[in-house]
Symmetry: C2
């Protein structure tokens, strides 16, 4: 697959994250106007809602685009997903006849505010990266018991909090929580001192189901992918998570990229999950490659400083694919809905510099790592953390836009009322 | 507090669950008509949507009632909640002037279908019953390690699956899942053989929040309560729940009663949580009694047989109140929304016959208990399980309606497609 050239020249530039091959889905607004659906192309947003209103785009079941979320398009199904891409491609491709008619519907990215691209129905987070699970398990239980007995048989997941999902750029306030150190006699309420990120990819469910689905069916249900930062308070987590899993440690915020990259844009980058160490049960078998070759990195920028890239890894490191996770999610008959979001789990690579959380990068805080102007074990106030992802084809790149969040100081007294 | 007599004579009958003191909130339909909001009174439903349309009920921000969910009323806030109760009470009270005008808006309960009373935004389940946690902990970890170290300090909770919530009367299909017995070398996919109930009360959140709230503030956010059966596949749970908690074991279905009993109706029945074994941190202190004296029971009816009441207990047995749970839920800043549902956790009493799950009643299956025509360790196909609740005042009873579900056989092959 090569670059599909567009008459939007900026989309053809080497390294541009939004070539015509991508067409990611976002929600934007300009000034005080209402937020609506758009797609990124080069250094602009294409105003899909306005194009639909004028009739330059027409979708079965439409109008679907003059709303501040992509759920209506998703719910319209895969034929509409493909049709929308085809119509937009025809409008933007180099040599398109209607270039002069379409050009007024391009809005510079620099002039828009980006919003959460879809209404998150429910949010599930998985624990499906082998290196991450091994690292964390080794720290907590020792190398010989690193992986729980079920880990190689099911993609372990837990339900997260959909209300915590925010769009890139939203400030994240350091949480308070109940914590108890190993030496403490009793717990106390305190701001988290071990606030962390988790570098993940999120799968956006575009079709509903009401019974068990196969991996192939699950793959067909996925609309697209976002970058996802599962902010995690490790000290709160350590005290609360037994026996029923993480709860308040993961509910402060979950930041996603402003753009959903549709599955169609990622097709050329499909790769297989790694060889199974033990065979999976048949209902988790993959009919083909279900991961994607997406290079990922994490940047940390201290207040007033410059960024240090603290991790570089790849989505292909996952042991389980999103399709396997979604199939597992439905085994018991759990109904899935349009707008459900599945976090991949932390994506760590095999090397020290490819770890997807500060917990792993600093080995539980014991080995602080360097950043510009100092070092870190966990996040300090006013640090900005940025996730980036790029699938690189022949002469083009598929990007998600930065997934960024600045951590602002905890409330002085969370119960003070004016 | 005594019975408030109504001109709807059936509401004054001893033991009627729906006297004028109650006025629980449901969603009903008649034949092919659209579902809408109503309140139960005696053996009837009062058609609130129609009353609002005629102007006999008028609410700030209305119309709010001609929709198939109570979320709009909830979102309107506590002044509207109280105003609605006052207006309906004035229409239905004995001696009301407009009796003849209102009577046509009563629909016999026997003639209506009842639907899910609200849109469930997110669902959280807790583990806050001391006897239940002790019983389960003793079975799994031994009597000396029964309670996890954090149990007496925080109301342990985990996020459940909102899409699994169904209204009473919905059949529940026995789930498939990945299971592995202690003697098995490898896991297998099978229908759950240890399918169970959990007797709970659900708190319905009626106000949103976006930061930590106190217990008093949390109590003010609660709109009302439902009966809740957290169907649980114990064999799936045992294999999956370490380290991140229950997932597929709890996602098949969660049945709630058709009626939300508003907090106002339960005010006369407030009781305190039991004495703390260790002091709670200040943010979890209760400003007053936050539990309710609600007698609860579970009935099991085999196919074609008669019901055996297998458990009798009381909501006052809880160690943590819903207000404490909601306050804890917000500690980290987790946003809460109108329509969030919080399960209390299984409500077991101190005696063998007051246990709120079959797991406890049969002590992990080792001590089958008698039911009409046989015995049970776990649920058998075509068993119907029914939860009931009643707060008993002087000459009146506050009920929730039955919370019932019949367990139908598992799919023969969950992946067969026609």
């Amino acid at each position: 697959m090569a670059l599909i050239r567009s008459w939007v020249e900026s989309a053809n530039a080497p390294g541009c994250p939004f070539p015509l091959n991508n067409l990611p889905c976002g929600v934007f607004s300009v000034g005080e106007e209402e937020a609506r659906c758009g797609m990124a192309i080069g250094d602009c947003v294409l105003d899909l809602a306005a194009l639909e209103e004028t009739g330059l785009i027409a979708l079965d079941g439409g109008p679907l685009l003059d709303v501040p979320f992509w759920n209506e398009v998703m719910g319209a199904g895969p034929v509409v997903w493909a049709d929308l891409r085809a119509q937009v491609t025809a409008l933007l491709v180099e040599g398109a006849a209607r270039r002069d008619v379409v050009a007024p519907f391009l809005v510079p990215l620099a002039d828009v505010a980006l919003h959460l691209p879809f209404l998150v129905s429910e949010y599930t987070d998985f624990y499906a990266g082998r290196h991450h699970a091994t690292n964390v398990g080794t720290m907590f239980r020792g190398a010989e018991n690193a992986l729980p007995p079920n880990w190689l048989h099911i993609p372990i997941g837990y339900n997260g909090r959909a209300s915590s999902v925010v769009v890139s750029g939203t400030e994240v306030r350091r949480p308070w929580g109940q914590v108890k150190g190993p030496q403490d006699a009793t717990p106390r309420l305190a701001p988290s001192a071990r606030f962390d990120i988790e570098l993940e990819l999120g799968a956006v469910v575009g079709l509903s189901s009401d019974g068990p689905v196969t991996v192939a069916e699950a793959d067909a249900m996925i609309f697209g992918y976002v970058l996802l930062n599962d902010w995690s308070a490790r000290d709160i987590q350590a005290w609360e998570y037994q026996p029923l899993g993480p709860f308040q440690a993961k509910a402060t915020a979950t930041t996603i990229s402003p753009w959903i990259v549709m599955k169609a844009a990622l097709e050329p980058f499909r790769v297989s999950t790694p060889p199974r160490e033990v065979p999976l049960l048949p209902h988790l078998h993959e009919p083909g490659p279900m991961l994607y070759d997406i290079a990922l990195e994490v940047g940390l920028t201290p207040e007033g400083g410059t960024e240090t890239v603290i991790s570089r890894t790849n989505y292909a490191e996952m042991y389980y694919s999103a399709a396997q996770q979604l199939a597992h999610h439905t085994t018991c008959g759990c109904p899935m809905n349009v707008g459900d979001l599945l976090g991949s789990g932390t994506i760590s690579g095999p090397t020290k510099d490819s770890r997807g959380s500060l917990l792993e990068l600093s080995w539980g805080g014991k080995e602080p790592f360097p950043v510009q102007g100092g070092s870190r074990s966990f996040i300090q106030d006013n640090d900005t953390l940025t996730l980036r992802g790029a699938a690189r084809g022949e002469g083009y790149t598929i990007g998600f836009g930065d997934c960024t969040g600045k951590v602002i100081p905890a409330l002085a007294d969370p119960y003070a009322r004016n």
